[in-house]
Every structure is written in C-alpha cells, then in structure tokens.
Symmetry: C2
Subunit: 354 residues, 2 copies
C-alpha cells in the first residue's frame, strides 16, 4: 500500500474556485472541487494515479465510451465532524462494487490500493471543500470509461479512472412521489442491472421524464417480465413498512446491491425492527394501502440518504402515505447519519477515518 | 433543405493521411478519414453542422456521457461504383432510426436536413476515402452523446452529434460460429434493446468474451425471461433456413429493427423464397439440426453484410451447419450488394445517389 501512496504525484491548481461557492446553498453535484484523481489503464496495466487540477479531458472521437457505453461509476460521500475530522462510509465496499460492475462491463478491475490511496490523496488536497453545513457532504464520484478507440463493437484496450468531487446538499428537494412503472423496465434477467453501468441510467431518463410530466419525482421499477414485483428506484433501493415490519426486495442480477440498503437492514435489526428481505408484489402494497396497514415507504441510497415517499401512483390511481410521528425513516436516517458524521459510536465498524 | 446545405461550413485538414492507408488490406473501423461532421445541441436547439478536420474532442469530466451512458449511434456505408459514383443505402431509414433511439434515451431528435446535408457535405470532402476494392466500403458512424454536465442522474442539456468515417473491409474474418446464450441477456421487455444505445453494446462484451474463450465468434441472444426464443446477435439480425423456408424473429422492444434485415425479407420474397417472420424457439432449431432440415443460419447487418454461420453451440453441444452449393446467404448477399454497389437495377428504390 505504502508504495502506491508514495508514488502518487500531486499537481496543485494555481488558483482555487472555493471562494465562489455558497456552502449554505449547495445543489447536488453541480460545483466541482479544484482537483481530480486520474488513473490510466494502458498496455494491460493501471498506471500510477495522479492528483491534478480539475480540467477537461481530451479524447479521440472513436473512443469507445462515445459508441458503446463502456463505463461504470460509484457514488460515495466524505463527511466532516464538528472537530473537522473527515470520514468515509464503508469505502471498501464501493471499491469492491466498482470491480463487480467493471467485470460485467469487460473493464479491467482496479486494485484496492490504487483506488483507496488515490482517493485519500485527492481528499487531502481538497479537504477544505468538504462542507460542514447540516445535511451537506462532499459527494465523491469515481468513474471508469473506455478511452481505447475503434468502431469494432468489442472491449477497449485503454481506460481512464477519474475521481471527482462535488460539495453537495440534498438530492431531492422535499418528499418524493413515485410512479410504479408497468410499461418500461430498468433491467433484464442476466443483464447489467446489478452493475453501476452508465447505460442503466440513460435508459431510465425517458420513462422518468414521462413520470415527472405526470407529477412524480421518480419511477419505481418492477420486474420486466410480469411487472408484479417491486424492484428499486432510479438511484435508491426501496423499503416498505407494512404494520411494523420493514420489507425490502432481495438483490438480484437486476438490482443494485446498495450500501445504504444493507446498512439500513443491519441498523433496523439492531433497533429490533422486524425486517423481511423478500419479494414484494405491487398488489400487496396496494392492498396494504387500502386497508391502512401500509405505514411508510422510503428510498435508500448514498445520494438520496433516506428519502421518505409521500405517495405513489399505480394504474392511474393515487395512493397517499400517512404522516407518522415516529417514522422508521426518521429513526433510521438519524442513526445512519449520526454514524456517518461521527456523532455517535460506530458499533458496526463502518466509519473510515481519512 | 437548401438553407442548411448552404450554411454548413467546411474547414479542410491541412494535410491528408490518405497516403498512409493500404486500401487493399483494410480492417474494420480502425483508420479514420481526414474530416468529421460536428453538430452541437445547445440552448434547446441544434446548431449548424460543420465539417472540420478529424480531431480530438475536449469535454468536462462531469459530462453526462461519462457517467450515464446517454448516447446513440448509427452504422451506414458509402459504396463507390465502377464509374466512381457514390451511393448510400436507405440513409433516410438511418436518420429515422437515430431519432427513434434518441427519443428512448431522452436525447433531442436531429432534423432530417441537418443529418442528411451534414452527411453529404462530409462525404463530398472525404470522397476519395471511399474504397473501391472488392468487399470494401466506407463505414459511416453517426453518433450523438451527452456533453451537458453534472452528477444528477437526469438528461443532459447539451449534446454533440459527430459523423466520422472509416474505410473498412469485412467485419468478420471468415465464417461465424455462434453460441446460443442462456445465462446472460441483451435486453429487457420495456428496455432499450430496440435502440442503438451505447449501453446495449457494453453489456454484451463480457458474455461475448466468455463465448470467444470457448471458441465462438458471437453470441445469439435469447429472451431474458425463458431463454427459449432466438432474438438477434451482437450487431446482426438472425435468419434461419429450415428446409426451404427462411425464418426471422419479429422485431420488438428488445430487438433492433435492422435495415439489412428488412431489405433481405423483401429481396427473399422477390426471389419467391418462402419467408416467415415469427418467433422461433431454440428447441425448434436444435430439432431441425438433428433431423437434417436446418439448412442455413446467417446474420444480417450493415457492418456484417450477410455473414453465414458455420455452426452453433447450445448447452455444451455443438451443431454444425451443412455446406450448401446454392445457399440463400450467397444469393441474398449478391443481390443486396449488387444493389448497394450499383451493379444492377434497383427496383426497390433503396439506392441514394450522393
Ligand atoms: C440503481 C441504484 N440503486 C440503489 C442505489 C443505492 O446504492 P448505495 O446505497 O450504495 O448508494 C444506487 C446508487 O446510489 C443506484 O444507482
Ligand atoms: C444489435 C443490432 N442488431 C442488428 C443490427 C443490424 O442492423 P442494420 O442492418 O440496420 O445495420 C445492428 C446494427 O448494425 C445491431 O447493432
């Protein structure tokens, strides 16, 4: 590990953009920090990562990223506590997952030390960009894409990993209204839905636009075969509370294995909340809404944290969720963010000090 | 139309690379011509296309193409006849299809005259790059990708269309051996399989690599639900001849509506070949192979033209196709390429003179 950490070179930006940023009014992922990490894959190997000023990338028009969508990414956050210590949340799981995604997309895996030491070097240089205002954090975006060229539809021979960061506020402005989708689908059995592959996201834009035009914020995807099973949302896994039981779909090759999701499952169990990881049908949720046993629905993801759902649409009917005093969403959000921001003890060992 | 044609500016390359190219030994899509067409979408509109020297593109690292795979493309060819006239094949269908793809990917549609007049202007400048050697042509690659920036998973506000060209020989070196896939899938019901979306191709690389390691050239995709129905190959639609009947799957939201496929259907009918456009099961093909009624299989696509399949693998068994004297593949390939290269009359009205 030490060898790579020592080899990483750092080229500092001549001027900083930080004074132009209003840290009390941060949008999500719009303002980028002064630096980025770059790591190239050439001649069959990853080269030494470098921290460089944030700058444009120059590529040949026949680079395969433009033609064949060969790309994967991750989403992480850095949190600053009241003593200005910097924390990551389960970052090794992001490293593992980017390699799971890369394998499915025929992209070479990135060694753990290149990813982790590169990330640490970058965060040290841009440390003052990590916001401290309530609900804000530094959103971290590692991504890998095909730079190798040619119009033959086959894997590229060269790739670039970049890690870029954006001080960010909340992903959603308020409560989230969702549409349960029955026409379009996010992923196929045996497809790439479990991977954070670029193409999975572009495919969701159009159906999501149609939902937005109808007054929803997000689509809840169902399986592409029967449209009977709740899968996940665009960038969040979905939790459903019926009476006092918290239910979430099992992961599969169609569903992203979310780090927030699995953390929430553990915290809920620790809170003695009955948790069921099982397939859940749309009709069950509709039924529960009608008979009053549907108490809560929320999304869980790094960007969205825990986002309570205020209601859902299904087959041209609207279903509202009740307003609860002691919601699981509020409880679980507090517990996970308290761990992330180092406000409480971390009995799970998830926090990672920079 | 005239207005756009007149507005297109042309900046010529200072030097040409054409002397470095061995036109008698062309690979597929490796050598690019001297120029490219560029057309930007900004502030809600497509700007006037420009012909410029082929050159690198510079993009912000947060451009959405790198993160969310928002891209579509087309594949066309320009053919030169013995009198040096240049021909395209059904180019308006490529324009229609790129817009069908774009709509599904939430990319703004490109007007017909921008696409066609831009393409014509480019081909006039690079006309001497169109090869004349047997079996060669100029492969044309129009592609559109998201240049707008930001980490929010939503459609970009800026896009770039580029048309680049590569003088090319055959896509496959010889006959093609295929594996009928039962584990991985190419597309979902309600997904983006019918679109030429970048992400569809990256998702095929890994399963194709696994097939290549087992000695196959390509995967034949089956439906993701039952894996019982033959769909298409990576960049070709599939035709199967049982006794004297030519069968191909109907197109769907999972299958690309290939221009070669629909042309072959028309030519076959014109040749009084019985054609069936219907679902075809793997067991039917295996059965036909066992009882000797399976005569031919071939792929059809712009890049692959008509590529005869020499055999297929399924559930660890190998099935060989017979060598035929008068194959449909040979007959149909001759008829379509004779039209494309202006060697015969074009009763269908498919040829398009530059
Ligand atoms: C499709 C999808 N589902 C779920 C999630 C949540 O995963 P995580 O909690 O690891 O951020 C994400 C990513 O943020 C996602 O893109
Ligand atoms: C997935 C797929 N199927 C089929 C085809 C054949 O389509 P066309 O004949 O229009 O080239 C292509 C493109 O070349 C393709 O990418």
């Amino acid at each position: 590990m030490d060898t790579i950490a020592n080899a990483i070179t750092i080229e500092r930006a001549k001027t900083s953009k930080i004074d132009q940023v209003d840290f009390n009014n941060l949008a999500f992922g719009k303002v980028l920090t002064d630096h980025m990490l770059v790591c190239d894959y050439k001649n069959g190997a990853w080269e030494t990562p470098k921290v460089v000023p944030y700058q444009p990338i120059t590529l040949d028009p026949s680079a395969k990223i433009f033609h064949y969508g060969q790309s994967v990414f991750e989403g992480m956050k850095a949190y600053k506590d009241s003593e200005e210590n910097v924390w990551l949340f389960r970052p090794l799981d992001n490293h593992k997952r980017i390699n799971i995604s890369s394998k499915r997309l025929a992209i070479p895996e990135i060694p753990e030390d290149y990813f982790m030491e590169g990330l640490k070097a970058l965060l040290k240089v841009d440390e003052q960009w990590i916001p401290t205002s309530e609900g804000s954090s530094l959103y971290i975006r590692p991504f890998i894409f095909a730079t190798g060229t040619g119009f033959h539809a086959s894997p590229a021979d060269e790739y670039k990993m970049i890690i870029a960061c954006a001080p960010s506020g909340s992903y959603f402005a308020g409560k989230v209204k969702v549409l349960i989708e029955e026409t379009y689908s996010r992923s196929a059995n045996g497809g790439v839905g479990f991977a954070k592959a670029g193409g999975n996201y572009a495919g969701q834009f159009y159906p999501t636009q149609l939902a937005v035009e109808k007054g929803y914020n997000q689509v809840i995807w169902t399986d592409d075969n029967t449209h009977e099973y709740i899968e996940e949302a665009g960038a969040m896994n979905i939790f459903i509370r019926i009476n006092d039981t918290l239910i979430t779909s099992p992961t599969s090759d169609r569903i992203l294995d979310g780090i927030t999701r699995k953390s929430i499952i553990e915290i809920a169990k620790d809170e003695n909340i009955p948790v069921e990881v099982r397939k859940i049908t749309v009709s069950e949720v509709v039924e529960a809404s009608k008979n009053g046993s549907l108490k809560e629905m929320f999304g869980a993801g790094t960007a969205a944290v825990i986002s309570p759902i205020s209601g859902f649409g299904y087959r041209n009917e609207e279903y509202d969720l009740p307003e609860l005093e002691n919601s699981y969403a509020a409880l679980l959000k507090k517990r996970i963010t308290d761990i992330q921001y180092n406000k409480v003890e971390d009995k799970f060992g998830w926090r990672y000090k920079l």
